[in-house]
Symmetry: C2
Subunit: 207 residues, 2 copies
DNA sequence: GTTAGCATGTAAGGAGTTACATGATTTT
DNA sequence: AAAATCATGTAACTCCTTACATGCTAAC
């Protein structure tokens, strides 16, 4: 009932403020370069978010430290103890939403503060999501009738290749995580389902 | 001032209904397999959307044609003349939003009904968007300090590679479009079948 | 003295989701 | 009779965007 949806922005803000205090403007800049390719947040979402976090006392405001305050005076936000706890809690639970396109990047970026077992769960969750997607794409490609739209086909072909690439990337990451965590307590049969689907391109290694 | 934002769902519905009349449930299924990898719409957005289109008289309802009506009686939607016009208009204007991640796929899928020059504009718009993204990613990668987060770095590295791949794909498509429109008029999408679909991921340059 | 960049904020609203409510038919 | 599948629909809500409003400082 509490956190049933994404809440990407707040997680990202918590993550950034974990590195150190920051004011809103800078927060937004780093948000949009750190998370760069994935999302771009506007002030219209950032400031209300900060306001909410302030109300919940996950952050506190510091008086604008000087330095070289060009422009209007800054409001510097800093994580409170409660804020740190909240971030830890968010990073400890294996949110299924972490497999979402919009969330995975943020969670991955915060892997540095995430427990090893949670990292593994998130990577596997993401991989499973992509495998489902790939399966659907392959079904469509396999059943592509001759009258099919050439553009749609090409889009799905390229989409399937992209998904395959990301799955292979995840496989490699998962392998590394398992190796690092040493005694693998996990029991996941990682058998490759070889595609006999007549799916062509230089398909190295099972995804 | 009228259509300042995406409106992906309505465009997709117009596109599907252009193929022929359909009822809501089927529409949603096709929406989520056609657009497959990209989006998944729920009934909670589809039915209100259809209602709006009905109000604007872009679609009309037909009495549930029989066939094998398993389940509750169907409501079959059909494009009106105004609906066809509206779709044509949407596909004629080069919406900048077509470069968005969520929109590009839908627009591309409808390339079969899109004029050649508009296709080219959309492909180029998408490529420019991705080039900007790639530039930002490369900046981040280049300026990655030694103390940088290894996970964030890896994410951006993989992200940059993915974007490069998509840009190369777009380059190839743009090349083909130019070649086709050079010889003849651009309004015959279904002809030819174009099948040299062998896209080689070998060339790494000139993104 | 006006433009440009830095900095904070709000009001209105768009697009879509979840969860629910209903109902018919077929399969188990 | 229960469960699964097909089928339509609504209300409440979430997350975010756009467009606007404000104000301060530096450079041209």
């Amino acid at each position: 009932m509490s956190a049933h949806r994404a809440r990407v922005l707040e997680l990202a803000v918590l993550g950034l403020l974990h590195e150190g205090p920051m004011h809103g403007y800078e927060l937004r800049k780093r948000l949009n370069s750190e998370l760069g390719a994935f999302r771009a947040f506007s002030y219209g979402s950032l400031y209300p978010c900060l306001k909410g976090m302030l109300r919940r006392e996950h952050v506190s405001v510091a008086p604008a430290c000087a330095g070289s305050p060009r422009g209007r005076s800054r409001i510097v936000y800093r994580l409170t103890a409660a804020g740190h706890d909240h971030l830890d809690r968010l990073l400890s639970e294996v949110a299924p939403a972490a497999a979402d396109d919009e969330c995975f990047g943020v969670h991955f970026t915060l892997f540095g503060h995430t427990r090893g077992d949670v990292r593994l769960h998130i990577l596997e969750g993401r991989r499973n999501r992509l495998r489902e997607r790939l399966e659907r794409l392959r079904e469509r490609l396999a059943s592509a009738p001759e009258h099919a739209d050439a553009y749609a086909f090409e889009l799905h072909r390229h989409g399937a290749e992209s998904v395959e690439r990301e799955i292979r990337w995840l496989n490699e990451l998962i392998r590394r995580e398992r190796r690092c965590s040493g005694t693998g307590a996990g029991a996941d049969p990682d058998a490759g389902s070889e595609d006999g689907t007549g799916f062509r391109p230089s398909d190295q290694s099972a995804v």
